[in-house]
Each structure stands twice: as structure tokens, then as C-alpha cells.
């Protein structure tokens, strides 16, 4: 595996990872804009409308037919956020031509589709088609609303909303339903032209092809039309709600309560000493060796899942668990107690070693997926971190017991969100009236 960084044009770099590990290649172009609700709504809708049709493939069926002809290559346009950045990504994931049973030029087709999607959207009288904008708006709003279908995801989202209510990064990458409703074909078209002129762009590639060949292909697509903008991609830690622990409880027709707790860390991954937070999170609730899994689930039988995750660009840790509604206080207490143990140094060297091993395993595994590798490379560049596996492993190995204790001490509970049963469904396992055969 070899990384190559090439300047394709002024303000446009290609970051390539050459490897024969995969049978698929992936190329992506990322446009970065500052994060805010308006941008998120516009870009998320833009990603849908562009996919509805371009000059050469004016319908979804036409684009999909061409993609299938090219051995089911996958053109994707998605919006996601990281710290202060909102990213609109165009990517194509395609089978390496060497594995096609005929001489189909898959790569040529992949770059043609990429160019079509980025620079040749389907416009009518200078704007996106009204019909496409209206229907995609409705579907995007449906998609945002459908979050509540998955109650664990919904609870986490609500906790983050409540916690970051007054922070400029409290933005849903899918957009805001009220803002979406007001978007017209005119302002969406203006947002498109603004994107391709005033943003920060970069290209990523993972696969078998020589980076020089990829560079030439990208040059042809972008020559004379590289966007530019001075965007501050730096990020700072979320400082907290500042009002003690904020507690929110909502009701829904659920049979299991969903508990989410947000903590502030006071640091982000751009701070030099962030790796101890990664190790602390792993020790606390990162996997099967963690304190939350071993104690809250295995020893206390309080749940099926209980884990923690880091939002490293904003400096937040979130714990999620599915529990009996009547045991919320017990579980909360137990979750806080496990963090206290780490703060007090109540963990063995063995536990610390296991946490590090697990983290190293996760880092190494990410090098075995073209998509994960491409995404990791992008984030490393965005935050000036090294992709080098040896350096990353060494950084984890060098974390000491005191580093972890310090990280835990910086970690402060901020918001507790609980989604409880509205009382119509049996949440505590008492009212089982159906027979096994009825329930099957």
C-alpha cells in the first residue's frame, strides 16, 4: 500500500492510496462548506436533485442503467459533517476492469459519470427542474422524519440536539425540515453554482490504478473550473450546556426505554493529546472488554446493549443503552459509577492493555476496506493527522494509566435523555398475556 499526494491543479490535490488488496476501486471528490443549517438543507437536497438526472443521463433509470452496464458501479452523492465542516461528496465505487469477464472500460465510464454528476447537472432554462426539486424535497423531509422509526438512533439524535442546542454545529446533515420547505429551484441552483465555485475541493482515490493516470483523468474534469474558498476547517471542543446536568425525558410507544447520556471532553482530535481519550472511551464502553459491557450488561444484567462512542471533532462522548423503564435511575447511577472508577484509577493494567489492543485492532481493520480507508485518509488530512499505521499504533501504545485517568477526569456528564414508554406498551416485562404460540 502506497500513498501519493499530487497537486492536480492550483487548489486541487489528489490523495491516492495504491493497493492491489481490493477488487474494487473508489474515487471521490469532496467539496467543503462551512457548517450551518441553511447549507446542510441546501446541500442535502442538492445531492438528491443532482442524482435525479444529468445532461447525459437525464433520469434515474438512465443513470442507473449506465451504472449497471459498467458492472454495477455505485455513484453516490452524500452530505456529511465533521466538526465545523459540511462536506458534499461525489464518489464512484467500481469493479476493477481486470475482474470483468469482458473488455468493458469500467474506469473510463466511472470518471465520465463523476464528471457528469459534478459539472453537467440537468438544468432547464438555467435552473433545476421544478418537478425534481419538489419531489426530492418531499422525500428528504420524509427521510428526516423517518429517524423516529429507529428509537435507539432517535434517542441519540435527540440527546445530541438537546446537548448542543446553542452551538453553531448543532446541525443535522440531512437538513432542517422548515428550511427545506422554503427552498426553491432558483435558490437551489444558486447553491449549486456557489458550491462549484466557492468551496474547498479535494480528490481521493483508493485502488489499483497508477495515481498519474487518475491525476490525468481528474485534470481533464477540473481544468479551468477548480473551486476555491478560504474556509476555516479547524474545530474546537464543545464547552457544555453549562447548567449542571440537563435531564430530558420523552414518552413514546416503546417496550424498552432508550437511555442516552452525553459527556463533554474539553478536547477534540486536533488537540495533540487526544489519543488518551480514545483509549479511555475504549476502556469505558468501547467494546466487549469495556467496563460498561462487562458490568452493566454481563454482571448486572441490566440491558442487552450499553456502549459509549466518541464524537472526536466536537469533543463529546455519548453512552447509549436499552433498558427497562423502571430501572433508569439504577442504570444511570451504574453508568456514572463506571466512569468514576476510571477517574479513581480503579482499573487493572490488564484492562488498560485490553482496551489498547481493541483500539489497535479497530485501526488496523479500517485498512482492509477501500471505503473506510478513503474516509480515514480524508479525515486525517482535514485534521492534519498522520494516516501512517505504525505511528497511530505507537501513539495508542504510548498512552499511560495516568493519561487515561486525566482523560476521564476531563470527561463531564452534561445531558441525560430518556425515551420512556408512554404507558400503553408493557415496558417492564410484567403484563405478558399472549401465549408462546400466539407470540411465536
Amino acid at each position: 500500500m502506497k500513498t501519493t499526494d499530487l497537486a492536480v491543479l492550483q487548489n486541487l490535490d489528489l490523495h491516492a492510496i495504491t493497493t492491489d488488496k481490493f477488487k474494487t476501486n473508489v474515487v471521490s471528490v469532496k467539496f467543503i462548506k462551512p457548517i450551518n443549517k441553511k447549507n446542510a438543507s441546501l446541500l442535502s437536497l442538492l445531492s438528491r436533485v443532482i442524482k435525479r438526472g444529468c445532461e447525459k443521463y437525464p433520469t434515474i433509470a438512465a443513470l442507473s442503467s449506465e451504472s449497471q452496464r459498467l458492472y454495477a458501479l455505485v455513484p453516490q452523492i452524500r452530505t456529511f459533517k465533521s466538526g465545523s465542516c459540511l462536506i458534499l461528496e461525489f464518489s464512484v465505487d467500481y469493479l476493477d476492469s481486470g475482474f470483468a469477464p469482458d473488455d468493458c472500460d469500467i474506469e473510463g465510464g466511472a470518471f465520465d459519470i463523476l464528471e457528469q454528476l459534478i459539472f453537467h447537472p440537468l438544468l432547464s432554462d438555467g435552473t433545476f427542474k421544478e418537478e425534481y426539486v419538489v419531489s426530492e424535497k418531499a422525500m428528504q423531509i420524509d427521510l428526516i422524519k423517518s429517524r423516529k422509526n429507529n428509537k435507539s438512533v432517535y434517542a441519540l439524535k435527540r440527546m445530541m440536539q438537546e446537548m448542543m442546542q446553542n452551538d453553531y454545529r448543532c446541525v443535522d446533515a440531512l437538513g432542517d425540515t422548515e428550511i427545506l420547505k422554503d427552498i426553491t429551484k432558483e435558490n437551489l441552483t444558486a447553491a449549486y453554482f456557489d458550491l462549484i465555485k466557492n468551496s474547498l475541493a479535494s480528490v481521493y482515490f483508493v485502488g489499483r490504478t497508477d495515481p498519474q493516470v487518475i491525476k490525468d483523468r481528474i485534470y481533464k474534469i477540473f481544468s479551468g473550473r477548480v473551486p476555491h474558498s478560504d474556509i476555516d476547517t479547524g474545530t474546537k471542543a464543545f464547552s457544555g450546556t453549562g447548567t449542571g446536568i440537563k435531564e430530558i425525558t420523552e414518552s413514546a410507544p416503546v417496550r424498552q426505554g432508550k437511555l442516552c447520556i452525553g459527556f463533554t471532553l474539553g478536547k477534540t482530535l486536533t488537540d495533540g493529546s487526544f489519543v488518551p481519550f480514545d483509549v479511555m472511551n475504549e476502556l469505558y464502553g468501547g467494546g466487549i472488554q469495556s467496563k460498561l459491557f462487562c458490568n452493566i450488561r454481563e454482571k448486572m444484567s441490566l440491558c442487552y446493549y450499553c456502549s459509549s462512542a466518541l464524537f472526536s471533532a466536537t469533543g463529546i462522548m455519548a453512552v447509549s443503552s436499552g433498558i427497562e423503564c423502571g430501572k433508569k435511575d439504577t442504570v444511570c447511577k451504574a453508568i456514572f459509577a463506571e466512569l468514576e472508577k476510571i477517574k479513581n484509577g480503579e482499573f487493572s493494567d490488564e484492562e488498560l492493555y485490553f482496551a489498547k489492543l481493541s483500539l489497535i485492532n479497530t485501526v488496523k481493520e479500517s485498512f482492509d476496506s477501500a471505503l473506510a480507508l478513503e474516509n480515514t485518509y480524508f479525515l486525517c488530512n482535514l485534521y492534519s493527522k498522520s494516516l501512517d499505521l505504525d505511528i497511530r499504533v505507537k501513539n495508542i501504545q504510548n498512552v499511560t494509566r495516568n493519561d487515561v485517568i486525566y482523560a476521564a477526569k476531563c470527561t463531564k456528564p452534561d445531558t441525560v435523555f430518556f425515551l420512556k414508554s408512554d404507558g400503553e406498551d408493557d415496558c417492564d416485562g410484567n403484563g405478558e398475556v399472549l401465549s408462546d404460540e400466539q407470540m411465536e
Partner: protein
């Protein structure tokens, strides 16, 4: 054979090695130059095996629902008092397990200490250890797992579909059981089930990664070679060809209706070759009918009837087979009617275009080849093909051999007759 058997396919550039132990255990080593090792030990025992003759007995028994899944949870308890999760964690391996209708699988992935982790896996699966206390403790955890699925609309949608497609087949059974049924599980029941099903003739181990097959063999031999083989006797059920009911509807807290259409496939094939050929043909036909480039998708998406895309899948075994198509729509019944009308029309009047057939075939072929980019997908896929009695490397040729006539005749078969379709819908709560 008692020696390594090499199976390869030059076209897709892959090979694997098989070793058959005298006691019936099969070991597969699939070399892959990746950092991640993935190993799976799978037992042909799932929720469908709900009535069987236990080893050493003469009569059928019917343990409580959810016992295969319960056993999966409890196999991580070791006689030493430790649990296997800790042993895996000590090696930096990420372990997990799952139970389906047909099988139970124990797995781990790691980037270091692979051979030691494989030792933990073999040791764990071959040495059951259950106590009253540990069984009771697990009942609380699994009760929460059951409730988690109760709150999942997609899970409910799928369950309702199976209950409507089938009237007798155990595929109707909920893999986790119920809070009530798992409360009846005892250590004795678990030991009996383990003895019956967790034996080498009913087990396969597949490892995928940059490993030495001889070292793998040595480790597997240590715990598994001395076990005795046994072929479990399961109760077979005669499932009528007719579907159980045409429509099932339930209300849940969802934002817009979600739906699933079930196509019961009663043309069950006797051999693995026939089953795989049918699987490839069905996948191609489903792609032609419901894929993003299909006329049906274009029509229903642009009219706003379909929200998002269709998602289609096909499951087949020697005792059941069905296709399931899921979607979201503000008007599920109207979308269902459109789908039925479209398929009826295609069955009567039209044929399938050469282009759309070729494109769909390429899409299915590419999906198959891309699966070889992941050690996890390779090992899990190997297990599924193995339990069906088929060589996974041959599947890309099976896809290539499907003809347009195969697909047209499938389209005209009973499976694709809308009269036999089932519609499962979850609608938003009225309140």
C-alpha cells in the same frame, strides 16, 4: 479425505483449502492478504430446529422457543468461571455470535494474535458450561434483546411477513423466543441441545486471512478432533403451497408506512446446484423488476408513490424459499396494486429486453465478485454455501450461465403470480 483439498478459480483469482476430519468436521482456510483475520465456527442449528430427537433418546422433544439463541449467549461462559469475551478481549480480538433460522455462528475478527484467538473459539464451542445462576442472569439480558426487537418496525414488518407466508413451517418461529418461553430454559435443556447439535458432523469452521493452514489445522485439531460425530434427527413439517394470508397490517410509531411484499417460492429444489441456479435467476429477475433502472422504479418514484428505493432479497433452502421486497410509501396499498399490475402485465404480454437482462446480470455478477474484498464476507458466505452443499467459487459461473429464457420462465412461474403475494404493512399510529 483426511488431507487438504485445494479449490480454486483463476477467473476471480481466489482459492481455498478444505480439510475433512474423520469425525466429520470440515475446516476451510481461505487465504487472503489482508490485515484482518476473520474466523467463524458455525453449527447447523437455528430457530427452525424446534423439534428433534436428542442424542441418546428415542423420542422427539420440543424445547422452549428461543433455545438455540439462548445457547448462543451462554456458550461464552467457560468452565474456568471466565467468559470467552474476556479471553478474546485479552487477545485484542473482536468476538460476536448470531443465531438465525438455520444456524448459529460464533465469530471473531482480529489483526494480531490470530492463532491464539482461534484456540479460544474452538475451546469455547466444544466445552459447554451452564449453571442455574448464569441461565437466570441471561434471561434478563435476552428479555431486553426481545424488547429491543419489539420496538423495531422493520423487524416487526419482517416477522409479520413470514407469519403470513407460512402456516406450518418453523421459519415462523421468533429466533429469540419470548420473555415467557426463555424463562422456562434450564441448564439441562441447554446441555441436551448442545450435545445433539454441537457436534463435528453438524459444524464447520472457516478462517479467512493471511494465515498458515497447517497452524490452523493444529489448533482446530486440539479441541475438535476428539469429538464424536452425530447426525441430528429433526422433525420435518409439511408446508402447504398456499400462503397463510394475503395481508397483514399493524400500527407502530413510524413516520410513514413501510411495507414488505413476500413471494413464496414453492418450487423447492432437491440439489444444491439447482438451488443456486434458482437463486441466481431470482436475483437477476428481482433486479430487473425492482432495481433502480427498472420501469417500475422509474414510474413509482417519479409519481411520488415510492419513497426511496425498493430493497429486494431472496432466501432459499431445502425446506423453504421466499423473496421479500421492501419499500416505504404514503400509499402502500396503491403501490402494491401498481406492482401487481406491472408484474401481471409483464407475465402476460411482454418479454424482457436483452439490455435489461444483461445489465442486471452484470450487476449481480459484480456484487458477487466485490464480496471477495472482505474477509468477513468471504467466511460468512463460505458457511452459507457449505451448509447448502455448494462450492462458493462456482457461484459466479452459475450467475454467468443464467439465460434470459431461465428468467422469463421464472417470471411466468407461480412464484411471481400476484395472486400468491403477501403484503405486510406497518402504518403510523392513528393516535
Amino acid at each position: 479425505m483426511n488431507k487438504w483439498n485445494e479449490i480454486s478459480d483463476k477467473k476471480i483469482g481466489e482459492k481455498y483449502y478444505l480439510y475433512k476430519f474423520e469425525n466429520g468436521l470440515t475446516l476451510c482456510v481461505f487465504p487472503k492478504k489482508m490485515s484482518t483475520f476473520y474466523a467463524v465456527c458455525a453449527v447447523k442449528y437455528g430457530a427452525n430446529d424446534c423439534e428433534f430427537i436428542p442424542m441418546g433418546a428415542n423420542e422427539y422433544t420440543k424445547p422452549p422457543l428461543g433455545v438455540a439463541h439462548f445457547l448462543e449467549h451462554k456458550m461464552f461462559d467457560m468452565p474456568s468461571g471466565n467468559d470467552a469475551f474476556s479471553d478474546f478481549a485479552a487477545l485484542g480480538a473482536n468476538a460476536n455470535a448470531f443465531t438465525s433460522s438455520d444456524k448459529t455462528a460464533y465469530l471473531f475478527s482480529c489483526t494480531d494474535n490470530f492463532y491464539e484467538s482461534l484456540g479460544v473459539l474452538c475451546n469455547m464451542v466444544s466445552k459447554p458450561y451452564f449453571t442455574n445462576e448464569s441461565v437466570k442472569k441471561e434471561q434478563g439480558i435476552i428479555a431486553q434483546e426481545i424488547r429491543m426487537y419489539d420496538d423495531s418496525p422493520s423487524s416487526k414488518l419482517y416477522r409479520n411477513l413470514l407469519l403470513s407466508l407460512y402456516s406450518k413451517h418453523p421459519i415462523r418461529k421468533n429466533v429469540c423466543g419470548t420473555v415467557n418461553s426463555i424463562s422456562k430454559i434450564t441448564p439441562k435443556i441447554l446441555y441436551d441441545c448442545h450435545k445433539t447439535f454441537y457436534n463435528p458432523m453438524n459444524t464447520v469452521i472457516c478462517v479467512c486471512g493471511d494465515c498458515d493452514k497447517e497452524k490452523v489445522l493444529e489448533i482446530v485439531k486440539k479441541d475438535m478432533a476428539s469429538l464424536s460425530g452425530f447426525v441430528p434427527q429433526r422433525m420435518t413439517v409439511s408446508e402447504p403451497k398456499k400462503i397463510n394470508r394475503h395481508k397483514v397490517e399493524e400500527e407502530m410509531d413510524v413516520s410513514l408506512p413501510i411495507m414488505m411484499i413476500g413471494l413464496k417460492d414453492c418450487d423447492l429444489k432437491a440439489t444444491a446446484e439447482e438451488r443456486q441456479k434458482r437463486c441466481a435467476a431470482v436475483d437477476i429477475l428481482l433486479n430487473i423488476l425492482f432495481g433502480v433502472s427498472s420501469h417500475l422504479h422509474e414510474k413509482t418514484y417519479t409519481s411520488g408513490l415510492l419513497s426511496g428505493n425498493f430493497d429486494e432479497e431472496y432466501e432459499n433452502s431445502d425446506s423453504y424459499a421466499y423473496a421479500a421486497i421492501s419499500a416505504a410509501s404514503h400509499e402502500p396499498e396503491k403501490l402494491y396494486d401498481e406492482i401487481c399490475a406491472y408484474i401481471s402485465c409483464l407475465r402476460l404480454d411482454k418479454t424482457i429486453g436483452d439490455d435489461e437482462f444483461l445489465r442486471a446480470k452484470r450487476a449481480i455478477y459484480a456484487d458477487e465478485i466485490c464480496a471477495y474484498d472482505s474477509t468477513e464476507e468471504i467466511a460468512n458466505s463460505f458457511v452459507d454455501f457449505f451448509f447448502d452443499g455448494f462450492d462458493m467459487l462456482k457461484y459466479s459461473s452459475v450467475i454467468a450461465d443464467v439465460t434470459k429464457d431461465d428468467v422469463i420462465s421464472l417470471l411466468r412461474s407461480d412464484m411471481f403470480c400476484p395472486d400468491n403475494f403477501v403484503l405486510s404493512v406497518i402504518k403510523p399510529n392513528k393516535k
